[in-house]
Amino acid sequence: MQNEKDLFDMLKEMYPQHPRKEFVPATENTLRQRARGMGKKRIFTKISVISSSVLVCAFIFSWLISLNGSGTVSKVAHSDGGASSSYAMDEKEPVVYIYQSHNSESFFPELPEQQGYRDQPPYSDSKNITLVGKELSRALKEMQINSIHDETDIAGVLKSRGLNFQDSYKVSRENLQKVLAENDGIRMVFDIHRDSIKRQDSTIEIKGQDYARIKFVVSKTSGNYETNKTFATQLHEQLEELYPGLSVGVIEKGINPQNTYNQELHDNSVLLEVGGIDNTLEEMYRSMDVFAQVLKVIIEKSK
């Protein structure tokens, strides 16, 4: 008994080393309910803050009108008109479809509450890869290229239907099929992901700024393997020309576990792995702005 290790081993054996089986899920449930309860309270305070600020705004607005008379009103009407005309100008057929099968993939630097918690890759319901897809869509729009950005909360759909993470591609496929059926003009399809690699592998400095690197992933098991690969290589080469080193290259996957990443649905369909767990959204956005330029060049070449 002089030996500490014996003592501790004995101690460990003395008490039941696991709680009762039913305890574990019961407590998980209790915690879920409590968390939901806390969420409701928060939403309620949010709503009351929003509604009171709307009231204050309305009050100030009416006060301004009564002071300035018709001057303010005509200004407002003018800016309204401007917005609608610019919208009309951009109404072209969408040519790019952007979606995120793993929409909740996120980044440590954007989630300060997960900093001390690095044993699992970061996920978030709000600050996630969807924002990166959105940025690509915005950057394209700036260059007069229209896209459809799918903002479906796939993780939420999985949860509500009781499906697994592996079923993400089945869920994202639904909207993709629908959009392709309704829009003949879609010429490129991108499923954007955040890679799970670390900062040193996912980041590159170009002209003093950090960029999240981009991988082009092609499934070897999709019926479109050859055409997908040609398209991915074209993207890689064009990106190399514009920003050497930003592209990691074309990666072939999808055999084990078998996955087509929905690439059989379109000839020009590629899965993008952008950045990693340690990149900031700003670095991701930068790469998307560059990638938008690549797409512009490719679209113009093929005209």
């Binding site: 004995m10 915690l31 968390a35």
Partner: protein, 179 residues
């Protein structure tokens, strides 16, 4: 800003990662599965409440364990009177019985260890369990107990010494009883 969905999945993740460690700490501390389960739940409810204010610079696991330690010591204070009375009450009868039997010795030994642990000051008890059972490093333990690393070392050393002293006395007692 954490939205409710996120909070829910976060707490469930954290709970699944750490409930067993927390439970093991508490079951050694209280010596009772029932109490340990109740307290484990209490710990994670407190974690949930504190999660939105949790400072990311701090280690999540040691933060959870500092909560567990507070919960354990609160529980100890509440139960102090009742348990002191109960234990000594039963001991009077038990120690008078003589069963010179190996199985009995084993049971007795466990009971003695349990009592020796239970008689340690709660702070000593926490140090011994955190270091010995949960296998935290000295630095982690000092973070959990919010004291210096030197104090952890000294307390751990003293606690072990006291534990061994108590056990040696009691084990000798068992042996002489058994003869």
């Amino acid at each position: 800003m954490i939205d409710s969905n996120n909070l829910e999945s976060r707490i469930v993740e954290i709970y699944n990662l750490y409930y067993l460690d927390v439970y093991r700490f508490l079951v050694c501390f209280t010596g009772s599965q029932n109490d340990a389960e109740d307290l484990t739940q209490e710990v994670f409810i407190r974690v949930l409440k504190g999660l939105s204010n949790f400072n990311g610079n701090y280690n999540l696991k040691t933060w959870i364990f500092s909560i567990a330690k507070h919960v354990a010591i609160d529980h100890y204070r509440k139960k102090k009177f009742a348990s002191l009375f109960k234990d000594s009450f039963f001991n009077q009868f038990l120690s008078n019985e003589k069963k010179p039997d190996e199985e009995f010795e084993e049971v007795e030994l466990k009971r003695f260890i349990h009592e020796a642990i239970a008689k340690l000051k709660p702070n000593y008890r926490a140090v011994v369990i955190l270091r010995g059972i949960n296998e935290f490093s000295i630095n982690e333990t000092s973070e959990i107990l919010q004291c210096s690393a030197a104090k952890v070392k000294v307390d751990y050393h003293r606690a072990l010494k006291e534990l061994k002293r108590k056990l040696n006395i009691e084990i000798e007692g068992v042996l002489t009883n058994a003869k």
